[in-house]
């Protein structure tokens, strides 16, 4: 896979990154090189093999969904860039 400006831009859009021309240029080169490196796996036949999502031989542990006192509203908002009336504030989404 050769990355060009268009495919790199499309990917940046999906990743929510805005890139300048210099970054795009260097990423095109890097992505092409990295993808050619990982593409060597295409030669490995894995038809009869199950995927391993993590190596721990144990079912995911679930807990009861019980409301507990953890972080207070005040604590949650301590690091917020902008808040009002105890809520997160973001730019207007609907006109």
């Amino acid at each position: 896979m050769e990355f060009d400006k268009n495919s790199t831009l499309k990917l940046a859009k999906l990743a929510r990154l805005s890139l300048n021309d210099e970054q795009l240029n260097s990423l095109e080169k890097d992505l092409t090189s990295i993808v050619s490196f990982i593409d060597q796996l295409k030669e490995i036949n894995t038809d009869k093999i199950d995927p391993t999502s993590n190596s721990l031989n144990q079912d995911l542990i679930l807990r009861e969904d019980i409301a507990e006192n953890s972080l207070s509203n005040e604590d949650l908002l301590k690091n917020v860039p902008e808040s009002e009336l105890g809520f997160f504030v973001v730019p207007k989404v609907l006109e």
């Binding site: 940046a12 970054q23 207007k92």
Partner: protein
Amino acid sequence: MLDNLTIEKTSKLLSEKQVSALEITNNYLKKIKDSNKLNCFITVSDEKAIDAAKQTDKRISNNEKIGLLDGVPLAYKDLFCTDGILTTASSKILSNFIPTYESTVTANCKNQGVVVLGKLNCDEFAMGSTNKTSFYGPVINPWKSIGNDEDLVPGGSSGGSAAAVAADLCVASLGTDTGGSIRQPASFTGLVGLKPTYGRVSRWGTVAFASSLDQAGPISKTVEDAAILLETISGHDNKDSTSSLKENELFYSNLNSSVKNLKIGVPKEYMSDDLPEEIQKFWNEGKKILTENGAELVEISLPSTNIALPAYYIIAPAEASSNLSRYDGVKYGLRVKEKSLIEMYESTRSEGFGDEVKRRIMIGTYVLSSGYYDAYYIKAQKIRSIIKNDFDNVFKNVDAIFTPATPNTAFPINREEVDPVQNYLNDIFTVPANLAGLPAISIPFGLDNSGLPIGMQLITNSFEEQTLLNISKNLQDTINFSNQPTQWWA
């Protein structure tokens, strides 16, 4: 008396009342102040450290029984959330983030009375093997080549965690290891670095990189200290859905150094003409020591070694791109103001993330994108099964695997920028253990002709950390590596 302390020594000094925790802490705080050139610390939490030390001293003067870590000054990679202490992951996007909660790992240490000196520099979001990707600048390795003043990398991503211990700016430290980020810097700085079995240590409250691979672990001066810290940080945590239910073990008190009748495998795929002669030399020496001390060496085969790295460079960026989608400027961290929500996301992320992080997010986004998910991510997970199966087969016949930790020693910070794939090859010996979830350790073996440390790696089967530590202790006690960097920075 106050220099080059280990956890064992510190604890002895304190319980024998030879010195106070406050004196020890102040000595370390002074050394940290004098070490700005190394750039190990992002935050020094001096007030909190002094408070904690005073509390230890109070317990001692009340004749309360204190644990091994009570009053011992440690420092943490800046990836562990610490209540009330800035936690940046070495990224601009978290450069103002002060957690209101404590990671499970550091809470476990806190409960033992640890004195936290501060937070250590690392590669941004733990992505790198040089510590050069940090927003806060590179960490400098305390070690230098003989007769050459050039600054060297400490390795990464836990570069600050390794350099700070090597320069004796803390007794020991905690790091994280996703593809070698504890073992490689430990090897570059002449220290012990342990990555536990996946699931042994809770990931809760640790800034996530690749969730199916990340594990926290100690970087220390001795195997004994690694055992103490592993014992402290491990154990089941119901806040982590992949935390093991296995009973906690007493790694430190069960430590013994016998390797008699153990079978140690040496993988033929790790032998290469490209391996520097001096690393090969210490590898051979290690094999000789193990045999002389009563172990049996067996040549083994891990046939899928060469596909581990490409599989890792699919899985790790995929999980990273997913994990890092939370940094959007809404709830915490950096926000770049824009008129629309999408523009705010894009500007915040573009300004907040560095180049390596962007590169990995892009790769991760690509391999997870519609139409490619099966071809890349699922494929890589299947390769992980093959790799795990290789190890399962080998561990039917051997107790441990013995390899070099890294294919090179510390290199100059200003080395010409290489292609990212070339950089990724730094992880060639360490990545397989992460993919298979196995515990692995790097232990210092000696110095190369330039006077730089070389580490060797041991890997055991899942949850066999005790065997791993025992063999390491045997090697440590036989080799007696006691070299330290010349102090040029103060």
